[in-house]
Amino acid sequence: MSAVLATPPAAQAAASAPVRQQAEPPRTRKKILRRLPAIAGVNGLLLVGCAYMILPLLWLVFAATKDATGLYSGEVFAFGGAFLANMEQLFTQDGGIFVRWLVNSILYAGVGAVVGGFIALMAGYAFDKFEFRGKGTWYGLVLVGVLIPNTATVIPLYLLAASVGLTNTIWAVVIPTLCNPFSVYLARVFSAGYIPDETLEAARVDGAGTVRTFLRIGLPMLTPGFVTIALFQFVGIWNNFMLPLIMLQNRDLFPSSVGIALWQSQVQQNPEFSTLVIAGSFISILPLVIAFVLLQRFWRSGLSAGSVK
């Protein structure tokens, strides 16, 4: 396990994959034919698994192109003609409040990802590179933080925020997201993998201070780790529902998740809200899906670092 931890997770996953493939016996035609049932079976099952994951998303894409009557009747996996009308309705409903919700989501998740990620990166770097008294205890505290369910602290957070008058402000939803113990854990793994101790010793011999060494040498080497941590925090905050739901009463401060849930709660009385809900859902998952497709290398390395516990 410690040998596994010594190499950066991304490099290790990349290194082990091709090795296994090379080791496979050369595929002759006969062999492939003989293995055909196995190949068909395994890939067929995987296709079924993927269909389960993708079809609900495809349903959303098609539903976003339909008007309310199209939604309740007609072909499921066919485009309707109301996509532009739906978008126009979405962005003009209640004076264009959806744009505001999207901006709020981007703001909360962006600040939380960048600032929170940086704070976690500093702590993880310190746990990896520095020696100090009580290090084990402090790190134990971080691990306890990883294990406390978020939702169990949300109501206590609300009670505390209410006692100091911070509810219904941006701070109530931003400050709690800046503290992410799991990111500290990831940062420590990345720091151990990406920054050789010798590099820091060399910098010290050259007379650079601790902070300067971190900013000039540590940080650039940790950039891939930072992107990974920030990506996971961004997604986590974007997807967070209970915290903003409880903290915010002012609709202008809602992130998109709470806003869409608000519209959904009105569908019972006004069925035409369902097209709004669907269009809003479609728009608000688009940035995340694009981020995941473009940043594959980073979430892969984050997940493999998380699994070597």
Binding site: M1, P56, F241
Partner: protein
């Protein structure tokens, strides 16, 4: 846990580099631990304090309320509340259904990905992982539509085949919710388990092949035990995650009357705080949930580390 051992080992292994002592470490750690104290410790301490008192109004509710120390009175009130206990029962059934379903699904998909005959591994991984990019609210919304008769292609297809089924009925809404959570989290765990499977030494698999073990046999008798640590981590996070159940039932409660406002303990606490205005009881319920999570995490870690050393 392996983590603690690791931190202990690195402390003794590395000789200290000058200038990496306590004072420099403090500069880097103070921001995080300040936030940690403010957002994790302080709220819990404050909630514990609040949960020991009760607001009592005299007579018919006129006049000033008095705040009395009631000790564990609120905890007893929460634990003897019928709706809360029913919610706990539902949460327990949900965990018993969700945790094995999720882990078995994820393990089977990861083993399939790892099988030597699999093509297009990266594409499969991306497709399986994609639902994780969908916020819980929207995942619950999509499935709520896919469960609703009239809109749902699934209900329509089943009805055409002669099967009338109501996914949102009192009996089926819990498994329906398990399905939403599996959809959201299976891909995430597939990647974690697949990464662990990739580190299984090739010689071991070769030896199994020489001994005449087939792919399926190798997958379950050799690969699976070797990724037990990763499976343990997945189990731990799945159990903690399932205790958090709130978003999905909250969204489904607007689509069906089968989900009440106190359907799971988290919703009970939300209802106590915002509909019944009983903050002390909401605080007590949150503390009970946090304690339960701690207890379960401890049990899972004990269980998995024991299995590993066996």
């Amino acid at each position: 846990m392996a983590l603690q051992i690791r931190s202990g080992r690195s402390a003794t292994r590395r000789r200290s580099i000058p200038g990496t002592g306590g004072r420099s470490a403090a500069i880097f750690l103070i921001p995080f631990f300040t936030l940690f104290a403010l957002t994790m410790i302080a709220p819990v301490v404050y909630a514990i304090g609040l949960s020991l008192f009760a607001e009592k109004r005299s007579g018919l509710g006129f006049g000033d309320a008095t705040v009395d120390f009631v000790g564990i009175g609120n905890y007893l009130a929460v634990l003897s509340d019928r709706a809360f206990l029913e919610g706990f029962g539902r949460l327990a059934i949900y965990c018993l259904l969700y945790v094995p379903t999720l882990l078995i699904t994820a393990l089977v998909l990861a083993l399939l990905l790892d099988a030597a005959v699999t093509y297009a591994r990266r594409a499969f991984q991306l497709l399986l992982f994609l639902p994780h990019a969908v916020p819980g609210v929207i995942a619950a919304l999509i499935w709520a539509y896919l469960y609703t008769p009239g809109v749902s292609p699934i209900v329509k297809a089943l009805a055409a085949g002669g099967i009338e089924i109501d996914f949102l009925s009192v009996q089926l809404v819990l498994p329906s919710m398990v399905n939403i959570a599996v959809w959201e989290w299976a891909g995430y765990n597939v990647i974690i388990l697949f990464t662990a499977l990739q580190t299984v030494p090739r010689e071991v698999l070769e030896a199994a092949r020489v001994d005449g073990a087939g792919e399926i046999r190798t997958a379950f008798s050799i690969k699976t035990p070797l990724v037990w640590p990763a499976l343990g981590v997945a189990l731990l996070f799945t159990v903690i995650g399932s205790l958090q159940l709130f978003t999905e039932p909250k969204i489904l409660s607007s689509a069906t009357t089968a989900v009440t406002s106190t359907w799971v303990p988290n919703m009970w606490a939300y209802d106590a705080a915002f509909n019944r205005n009983n903050l002390p009881e909401a605080a007590a319920a949150s503390i009970i949930l946090a304690l339960l999570a701690g207890l379960l995490s401890w049990a899972v870690t004990r269980f998995t580390s024991k299995e590993r050393t066996r």
